[in-house]
Assembly symmetry: C2
Homo-oligomer: 520 residues x 2
């Protein structure tokens, strides 16, 4: 299978349907395909790229970003979508590590180019989405398309690497996850059903497009001949406006973004009734946030997607009917759902032996969406894919109906006085307090307990609460050994990764400086 088949299908079944809407720009599937094949011609003929050469993209969301992803696949090249939150030094490392030959930037990131100067060891060409004319050092994107003859599909596919997605926003040295055409198309097929896409879907790209999760909708919505709508980056007010204006039907966000939508003062002024399905993932959804969202968009169905980049990225889905806090299946709202159609998951002990249902262990997975490997890191690839199963590093358990419950990222688990405390559970309690806008729970050093549970809390502007108020509230909700021993109020936003995950590494750092806890 190949990614470009989805584009040919869109052109065959919906040639005159709207493919992309980006601000005032829009184009049909026929037009989109013409631009993709011309851009592929530009990359391979004008810029002389060879099969499997790397092309990096450093850009906010746009129709150009989607064109570029398809052109890279069409030309048999490898995409390196870069995390937009990284510092120049980090980006230089990724560009050199991947031996990228072409770097594409948009207007926002063209400002970062001077910081790269003299430090890139393999980049030969820089393309700028916003340049009007090509210069000696910069190729203008639009001119490249206009000046190029369309190239035929290079017929890359199956086990060929389609993209290298660097992970490590929340962990140590970044690793390049190689995902193949087969990986990404199978993920799209798994989700097409589960996320409620169809030929009438109008999908809003609001979460950042560099993330592997975005490829899900790229391919699935295209395969169905639906419509892609873009917002440069997530901003709650603009997102609400765009849902109303473009009659968006589907969107995928992370819980922190959904929390921001819920907390937008005039959110209820918008007509959000077109939104049929809101998917969320990347981190657990506090129940209070989900309830707030259900209140804001009562006719929208919710789907939870759980996974990781190494799984292309989705491995379980929680269906809309289980987003219910009442009735016989109320407990399932705390689950990550069951395995995607083509996948297999198990919960195992430290010797990789399956554990009985209900026992917490490491979640492992296999199937056609398991990554090809880490780019040029064979030992780490072998370790991660030990015995043919991807080891997620997440702790969880399975119930008797095959529903997976994620207890915590293994590294976010707090061991206090010999008891395991799952930070997610404590955060869920905190979020139920009406004064709490957002929060994070981490383990900090304790003479007495090894680690102690520590909370960092941001209050709603119009609300006030004392540390004692909040801790007493927690005592009613969770066992006393889980209740935070200490609490910091904070007024600036919590640090988040490019994908929107709260960076607990950052929060833990000041407490652990010079100590032995692995805070990778």
């Amino acid at each position: 299978m190949n990614i470009t088949q989805s584009l040919r299908r869109a052109v065959q079944i919906n040639p005159n349907g709207i493919a992309t809407i980006d601000g005032d720009r829009q184009q049909t599937w026929s037009e989109f395909a013409q631009r993709v094949s011309a851009l592929a011609g530009g990359l391979t003929r004008n810029l002389q790229l060879q099969q499997e050469d790397r092309v990096a993209i450093l850009s906010l969301n746009s129709d150009y970003y989607l064109e570029t992803k398809y052109a890279i696949a069409w030309a048999g090249l490898i995409a390196v979508p870069l995390n937009i939150r990284l510092a120049p030094e980090e980006l230089i490392f990724l560009l050199n590590d991947s031996e990228t030959r072409v770097l594409i930037v948009d207007e926002t990131f063209s400002a970062m180019l001077p910081a790269f100067e003299g430090k890139l060891t393999s980049v030969e060409t820089i393309i700028n989405y916003s340049a009007t004319d090509s210069t000696k050092s910069i190729v203008a994107y639009q001119s490249l398309i206009v000046d190029s003859e369309p190239a035929p599909d290079a017929n890359a596919g199956n086990d060929d690497t389609a993209g290298i997605f660097y992970t490590g926003g929340t962990t140590g040295l970044p690793k390049g996850v190689m995902l193949t055409h087969d990986n990404l198309v199978h993920n799209a097929l798994n989700c097409l059903n589960g996320l409620g896409y169809n030929a009438d879907t109008r999908y809003l790209h609001a979460a950042p497009m560099f993330h592997a999760a975005d490829a899900t909708s790229n391919i699935a919505v295209t395969m169905l001949g639906g419509t892609h709508v873009f917002i440069p980056k997530f901003e709650p007010e603009q997102t609400l406006q765009l849902i109303e204006k473009q009659q968006v039907t589907n969107c995928t966000l992370v819980p922190t973004m959904i929390n921001m939508l819920v907390n937008t003062p005039n959110a209820r002024q918008y007509d959000l009734s077109s939104l049929k399905r809101l998917a969320y993932g990347a981190s657990p959804m506090p129940e209070a946030v989900l309830k707030g969202a259900q209140e804001l968009i009562p006719n929208t169905e919710f789907s939870q997607a759980y996974g990781m980049t190494e799984l292309s990225p989705i491995i379980t889905l929680l269906a809309p009917e289980f987003h219910d806090f009442e009735g016989p299946f109320a407990h399932r709202v705390r689950s990550a759902g069951n395995v995607v159609l083509t996948g297999e998951i198990r919960v195992v002990d430290e010797y990789d032996q399956p554990l009985p249902n209900g026992s917490i262990g490491e979640v492992i997975a296999r199937g056609p969406t398991v990554m090809k490997g880490y780019w040029r890191r064979e030992a780490e690839t072998a370790e991660a894919k030990k015995n043919g199963w991807m080891h997620t590093g997440d702790a969880g358990y399975m119930d008797d109906d095959g529903y997976l419950y994620i207890a915590d990222r293994v590294k976010d688990m707090i061991v206090s006085g010999g008891e395991n405390v799952y930070s997610v559970e404590v955060e869920n309690a905190l979020y139920q307090h009406p004064a709490v806008e957002s929060c994070a729970v981490i383990g900090i050093p304790s003479e007495a307990w090894g680690e102690q549970v520590h909370a960092i809390v941001i209050l709603h502007a119009e609300n006030s609460a004392t540390e004692a108020d909040i801790l007493n509230f927690c005592k009613e909700k969770i066992a006393s050994y889980k209740v935070p021993r200490s609490l910091d109020f904070r007024t600036i936003p919590l640090p988040v990764s490019g994908a929107g995950k709260i960076l607990k590494t950052e929060l833990r750092k000041p407490f652990w400086e010079g100590r032995s806890k692995q805070v990778n």
Copy 2:
């Protein structure tokens, strides 16, 4: 990917759900999986079969048939499901051609065993579904399962051949179509959505299980943890009874079977309201038959599936909303639908060049469901998969919205006085006459025209009509050069293949004896 993943998924998400219902027997997914792994152990340990050894099945439909298919996949063997309409000599050819080591028969076909005696060159063991005790020459199926230790999954998958499906019911020498695990799982994923399967599906295996089309529901319904219901072979009254009794939700039939349901005198006595979706394929559906079916089961949605064994087998689907004879999309009811999610189709000329929309040419297809090849026929495989595309041998055209219209099987097309006459179109006209119960249109020799259009008609028992009545009726419906020049009334049923297709080869034979027309 592998076929057995679907079974592990069913066991994980629905261990206590009903897997199979066959007469008075029923079992859960846990029980089914235990029997499958024990049978796999019986085949590989007790009977010493090695990876890729062939196991043939000659049986009417049953839960045992499904267990056997899964056990063969689980053990890494290759299934050879045999067409139940074939004569002993034909079956002997297939068993020897495939070098089958184990032949499994049910009670019905155990009666055929004496005819095989001394003629099978590779079969070492015969298993009988209905034998109560094993003898020197026959292994009893139930004892084999009870006496065997469960085997672990052999981890066959991807490009490994899962089955050899012999074609040639309607054509010359049979060819063994090798379908891989990937082929069959992709077909299931393509159809899962398109045929409306979900976790609550109760699928009736009424069409014969030897056909590749049956694998669609085997895998898709299992993957979702649904329920399989079996009828030994299609019989209209029993089918209607079983839909009512077992609350069947989904079924796939061929048009001749649907025509028989519609013509069952007391069909309207049954409560068929559980039937959500009726899929049909293998041959064109005369409009009068579809209308009759819509009248009989007004709340059932219809899906058309078009394909061939070499495409695992489905390559286009016509969605329920286009089974409508009125409104702006009324013309689409005559279409075979658009390409499945992972597929690509084109209409090409004799030089394999794509034709413009609206022009009739050969339909070709590619994607992950194209067969691995014909068993031990490399030249024919290369010819069929020329330029990477499966050449279907069907003539058709595409409209501007990507809907495929099949004009005819190329070999069923009649060339009369230089005009192409598509037999399907003439049959559609005949079926609209109220006295016609079934019919077939073929080309027969003509001094004047090369070929002339000839109709064979069976009238409803309670109706009478003359040749002139029917031909005059046709003249109002279709151009005069398409109207049959001759017509035979027939009272015995038309000859059909095991899959339910009308065997035009048989009908043409007496007219062409000793002449040059290719009637393969």
